[in-house]
Subunit: 207 residues, 2 copies
């Protein structure tokens, strides 16, 4: 209840955890060091014991998020079986589940991009671009196998991710009230079907 002193490591981690929450809610310039200190339950000076500047703390939380977030792993098994639907559904559900449950990573990412933070490129490259690339690779493979139309794999991968991410962003960042949280329509499988078959009622297209 009242641990008089914490070890340095623990306190540092606690500060980072708290800072992640607050920075993701308010962005860099909207967040005050005092606010973080209060939330942690220490004095403002305590923050500066561990992080020389606000920037340094911000960098630390970006690093941390970049390290801990990407549990993304491409669904290799489904890919080996050439089960396109399941490949994309797994990816979609992973993204939906992760970011709908905890939007802090997405918010940090968008804030950092808008506010022009340098580290963003690192995270973006390491997390987002890498995932897009592995999706693009699978698409390229399936194009070569004539299972997919001869599209630009990279653009197609981005289009797929775009449908998913935009849906998430509409809900958790724009809080769009017109997207009802009707669980009867599973957005994941819906978007995957759309991506695979298109909206046109071509002959023989039914899932």
């Amino acid at each position: 209840m009242c641990p008089l002193r914490m070890t340095g490591e623990d306190r540092k981690n606690q500060i980072v955890d708290t800072a992640i929450r607050i920075f993701s809610e308010k962005g860099f310039s909207g967040t005050k060091t005092k606010e973080i200190a209060d939330a942690v339950g220490i004095s403002e000076a305590g923050i500066f014991k561990y992080f020389a500047t606000k920037e340094e703390l911000y960098s630390a939380i970006i690093d941390r998020k970049a390290d801990e977030s990407p549990h993304f792993k491409f669904p290799e098994k489904e890919a080996r079986e050439r089960n396109d639907f399941m490949v994309f559904l797994k990816i979609a559900d992973l993204l939906l589940k992760r970011h709908l449950k905890d939007p802090s990573f997405l918010r940090l990412l968008y804030f950092a991009a808008l506010e022009g933070h340098e580290l963003i490129q690192m995270v973006y490259g390491r997390y987002y671009s890498k995932n897009c690339r592995s999706i693009a690779q699978y698409i390229e493979l399936r194009v070569r196998e004539k299972a997919f139309s001869p599209v630009d794999p990279s653009l197609a991968a981005r289009a797929f991710v775009g449908m998913i991410i935009h849906y998430i962003v509409s809900r958790v960042i724009f809080k769009d009230p017109s997207i009802q949280s009707d669980p009867s329509v599973e957005p994941g499988s819906f978007l995957v079907k759309l991506f695979l078959h298109g909206i046109r009622n071509d002959a023989g297209v039914r899932s």
Copy 2:
């Protein structure tokens, strides 16, 4: 060169114009009133002659953007002809052209959403949701005519817009270097084809 005095209206408009630029670059809490004043070329007090508070100025620029931006009009002619490809291509190109050329509206929108500004709901509802709804209406029509598969029109419209917007956001907000500005691949028609036909190489699907 050196107009000693401007009329109130003109000056007010000039302040709003400048403020749009700076707020869209740095967000609300990242923008300082002094900075706007300097950019306009007047003293800081001059700003407060026209706008009682920074918030009021911010509201004014949101209003302005909301008023001037939505020249969006649904491609009625193409819709009447049931030229699905052209309907969606027109929408895609409109979005691409507008926001790639001048990202300030998108940046303002995302900043406002992240920073939790109230007016965002108004703009979002008036601009984005309305457009999605008119697209959804067309989709619903085409579903009834059995030209499209029996999808949820609203979700499908969002998916389409999502592909487009996400592409734009990747370029102008995240400045994704892996999206080459190769003009040989027209993203608009590519994404529309993908939306209509899907990526699967189903029988008879070729544009």
